[in-house]
Symmetry: C2
Subunit: 332 residues, 2 copies
């Protein structure tokens, strides 16, 4: 199968959604109507670095790569619009693998109301994907940045943490003895994450001062938010909302569950700051968009992150990433 | 050097241009003002497939990858706006190589008035780049597509052809005996192509019916235009405008210069069709934007491409790509 036949088949499997897309894939470039602000992010994924084919199906891979990229749009509070895929396909991969990848991405695009608008396909010694996701917003005030956290703000996070890291440990057979249904949920959390698009839009408009998504683990993501805002972020580790089953997996793997919740990435929850007086409306807005909020810390003067154990003593993270290979690489 | 320090240094070397970019690289996503139409294209480049590091400096690579991607915007007639780079960097590459790559891309971005707005950096066994370029247009009528060629139209091309292929043969030491200055020009043509942004905008607004850029060689690019428009394109090979020095290089390599002009890619000239009566205004518009136009064929009923030799006999291309490795891979 040549490149052009392959792309024809990919095009036949993806749909235009909404009324923005004037010219989808197939010409020199895609043409999309855009009145206001375009919010654009690019993420790259490489076999052996971000995923292992031994434990990831092509369908899950298509889903995961799009989800991780769109999570950046969610963290801005933008409305997801279009996605573009650049794919490097090794010689042993053929039409079937490419179409499975497409189906996984297209299924999530359909859930999110997005259009896969084009991309590029090339041969490559290693499998890689580079995903460009474009979101839309009417006004800058509707978007949340990483800067803007102020001393006195509270620190909040949506949903629960550690589930993706626990799922990865299960995949790597580093843990066992779990209720099968719970195990499935953790695997799903790792393999098929959902970007929190609705919660992101609701939070960005409800008074948060800074926001990003939890892609590398809340400890390092909080560090980035702290640096961008020029503040010190304290996180009370005992308050972290830990996903169900994480404690069992962690114990079986010989690590503290808090390490998975604070140091494990790819949960794609949203981490944000808000003035104390806005706390109630922020939490209500997130809840209306389907996400719970847990207040896990406070912003102080200084720069950096301080993790606090029970009783308020500073505590380092020991890291658990050596347990799972390949490591989850930070992606900016 | 960690990924974040590296990205800090990259950010320090790129500039925002124009007043569209509200939030450049450094947050979850870039924010760009966009009133009208966004024109978006993605191209991937892989070592050993699209370039060889043995014959390409990192600086030239940054330039070439951006140029090739922006050429798709030129072929639509869009105004180049923003670029995003996803880079997979092998372990033996460090800060110096990354910054050279950045400098090459940034120098061209500056020429074109573009802003490098963000991207992603990851480790990878092989060097690869995926470049997303976004252009802007006020109205759809200002853009040229690949469909739209009609029987009776004339076929035109800007500039001269075969120079990039000849430059590649020189690089690969498949030819010699050339005047050094001419050799330098051909190498420059291959290593540092210029996307014809101004000519593309002028042509798209001057009455062309279909257009694309010559990235894979005029024979295969004409085939694509013919398929998108549902027409037969005849190209009179003796009329092809052949770049200076191509004949000498071709003879030294033992191929017909026409093979390089019609079958060699990466010239990034523009191939288009226009009604006969619009010919004069189309050529004048291109000339005012700095590009000559040569009329090289005609559109007929049917589908496909017919290459005509002296006297009008059909002629196959023999291909010359086996002379140069790695081959230039078609990129849609």
């Amino acid at each position: 199968m040549g490149e052009f036949e392959a792309l024809e088949q990919v095009r036949a499997r993806v749909q235009s959604r909404g009324d923005r897309v004037i010219l989808p894939s197939g010409d020199d470039a895609a043409v999309v109507r855009c009145d206001g602000l375009a919010v654009t992010t690019v993420d790259a994924f490489v076999e052996g670095v971000h995923f292992r084919l031994a434990t990831t199906s092509m369908r899950d891979l298509g889903h995961r790569c799009l989800a991780a990229t769109v999570s950046d749009l969610a963290a801005m509070g933008a409305e997801p619009g279009e996605a573009y895929f650049a794919v490097g396909l090794p010689p042993q991969f053929g039409e079937r693998e490419l179409l499975e990848l497409t189906d996984g991405a297209e299924a999530l695009a359909s859930e999110l109301g997005m259009t896969i608008c084009g991309g590029d396909l090339t041969g490559s010694p290693e499998l890689f994907l580079a995903v460009t996701a474009v979101g839309h917003a009417e006004r800058d005030e509707h978007l949340a940045r990483r800067e803007g956290a102020r001393p006195g703000d509270r620190v909040g996070v949506t949903g629960v943490l550690g589930g993706s890291a626990a799922g990865r440990l299960l995949l790597e057979r580093k843990a066992g003895g779990l209720d099968p249904e719970l195990g499935e949920e953790l695997l799903e959390r790792h393999l098929c994450p959902r970007p929190l698009v609705d919660a992101g839009r609701a939070l960005a408009r409800s008074g948060v001062t800074a926001m990003l998504d939890v892609s590398d683990g809340i400890a390092s993501d909080a560090q980035r938010l702290a640096e961008c805002s020029g503040v010190l972020i304290e996180i009370d580790l005992p308050r972290l909302p830990v996903d169900e089953g994480v404690d069992v997996v962690a114990r079986a793997a010989g690590v503290d569950p808090v390490e998975l919740a604070a140091g494990g990435g790819e949960d794609y929850e949203l981490l944000f700051t808000a003035p104390a007086e806005a706390g109630q409306q922020v939490a209500a807005a997130a809840l209306a968009a389907g996400s719970t909020v847990t207040w896990i810390g406070q912003v102080r003067k200084g720069v950096g992150v301080r993790l606090l154990a029970e009783g308020g003593a500073a505590r380092p993270l020991h890291g658990w990433d050596h347990l799972a290979q390949p490591g989850s690489e930070p992606s900016p």
